[in-house]
Amino acid sequence: MLLTEYEGKQRLREYGIAIPEGLLISKPEQIHRWKGDFPVAIKAQVASGGRGKAGGVLRAENASQLLTQAQTLLTMEFSGEKPRSLLVEPWIPHEREIYLALTIDVTAGGYVIVYSPQGGVEVENQQPVQYSFGAPRAFRAQALREILAPVESDGSLRERIITFARRLLYLATAIDAITVEINPLIVLSNGHLLALDAKIVRDEAAAFRHADLSAAIKTSRKREPRAMAQALAGNLMMVWLEGEIGLISGGAGMTMAAMDMIADEGAQAACFLDCSSNPTPAGYSLAFKILDAEPQVKAILFSIFGGGTHIDRVARTLHDILKKRRSKKPVVIRMNGTGRFEADAFMQSVGLTNHPTLEAAVTEVVTLASSV
């Protein structure tokens, strides 16, 4: 779960990292609440990256300009996302922008501190230094100091960075964040550091021990389009795509493999829909309900290679669902895995066709979809 800049900054402040005194507004008329000096920065609160380059951060010299800009920003879209709110902050003069992040080094299987002596929008052109240390208890100030030394000649700044890195680690472990990125982190004339931006990603798997995260996930799911919200509520993993082939599958790997194979046949999947987290009658029924209701879907491929999921049971479930189903959209089945002999026998007995290979099933469903 990616926090907005404002939410992220509140977390930084909570854990002892200084941020500018800002004002969050959701309507232009709330602008009058800004009691600080000018100029100010006004920033669209969106989850998508590249906001700065897309014109999502503006500078206002006075109140009337600020109002105009607030009106403008609230009507803009950033990668298809409308800002729900705007953050107003003083425009802070500074000499240096640096980059500091704590994230996960998936190769090493642990935490990593990433530092670049030049932050801001140009950070992508930099080669940052990295301190990959694994478990939180393995973090050592001295190790980070030695890594920073060649790229950061300002000793006093180096020590502040180390202190901040320690706090980022404390914050990350306390709230189960998998990324805490500050870009830019600015150096004020007195040497102090201030976080001008914040990107915090929390680990959704840890929601069981964070009621606020759990609530935020629920809220964000409700904001999804109806089909997505339904799928997520039913514990199905779904991503909506552009194509016409509805795909009900089991396991992320085989779902993607089927998508790829559909693409190889010149067609396109309408969705990634993985039922492996809820391989029950309720889960499969919901999957059909969602795809049947979606006009974009012309035909459905039902593809399961079951390990823990016993496909003989899935076959019975599928038969029940298809019997009751009103939609006329064609359904093509390919199942294999645990229980396949029983499944095949049952399907034969009720007149369902189980395609022997994924290739055969994909060819069939692509043909059916294009002939609708």
Partner: protein
Amino acid sequence: MSVLIDKNSRVVIQGIAGNFGKFSARDLKAYGTQVVAGVAQGKNLKEVDGIAVFPDIRTACRETKADAIITYVPAIVAFDAILDACEAGCKVIVYPGDGLPVQDAIEVRAAASANGAVIIGPNTPGIISPGKAKLGFMPSFCFLEGRLGVISRSGSLSYEAAFRLTSQGIGQSTVIGIGGDPVKGLNAAEAVALLHADPDTDAILYLGEIGGNDEYAVARYAAQADAKPTAALIIGKSAPPGKKMGHAAAMVGSHADSQAAKVAALRQANVTVADNLASLCSAAQSALAQAAHLQK
């Protein structure tokens, strides 16, 4: 041992009282795996299907000299269960569950390393050395004893791949599901190293996907002068960027996450990369043929 497990592995099933645990016990025994104990925490249970059941992992391992475990517990208690298993003497720990917090995964990885143990998972069907032992819930009939080592980030894809290989008569030495999470117990680099050192493995097949860095670790391995011939299939070429495709790590953020970049890196390292599932067996066969050629 072949890789990690073999006929001598002494297996505990944690969560044996549940439906899935009971099925798994029968399934593993049917495959010839030595299931020496079950654990049913908090339950007063003595036996399931002829298998002695203990109230905790430490007692189970002490009483039965077990050295491997598959643990069917929810993510909420997985951290402690895996720590317990590490310290009870299990050297191979399969954790199939998903939803383990990354922070917990980092900690159990460190704990396993400190205890000389290996964790397979999270989010994995486990590991199987066909004809020898199985520690997981993959469908047994898909697998055939042989000399191709297989590593997969996806469970379902590994069944499909093994089924195709087996249908073509290409047997497998060990098939390891490393799981789809960003932080894994055994990662691709470590899995490759195990297969590299295994005398029963002639060539390696890697089944990867978008997101994460595992594919680059495989490429680094394959670029070594002494690497075993390696084939690969990378799925997710049709996945749109910025969307998580089921697995926590399966997302194209940067270019390096994309299927195209990964395929290019693997090919650069002389890996035979299959274009799609249909050409998987020929890629594997090509790697095995290279291996046969090298051995002459």
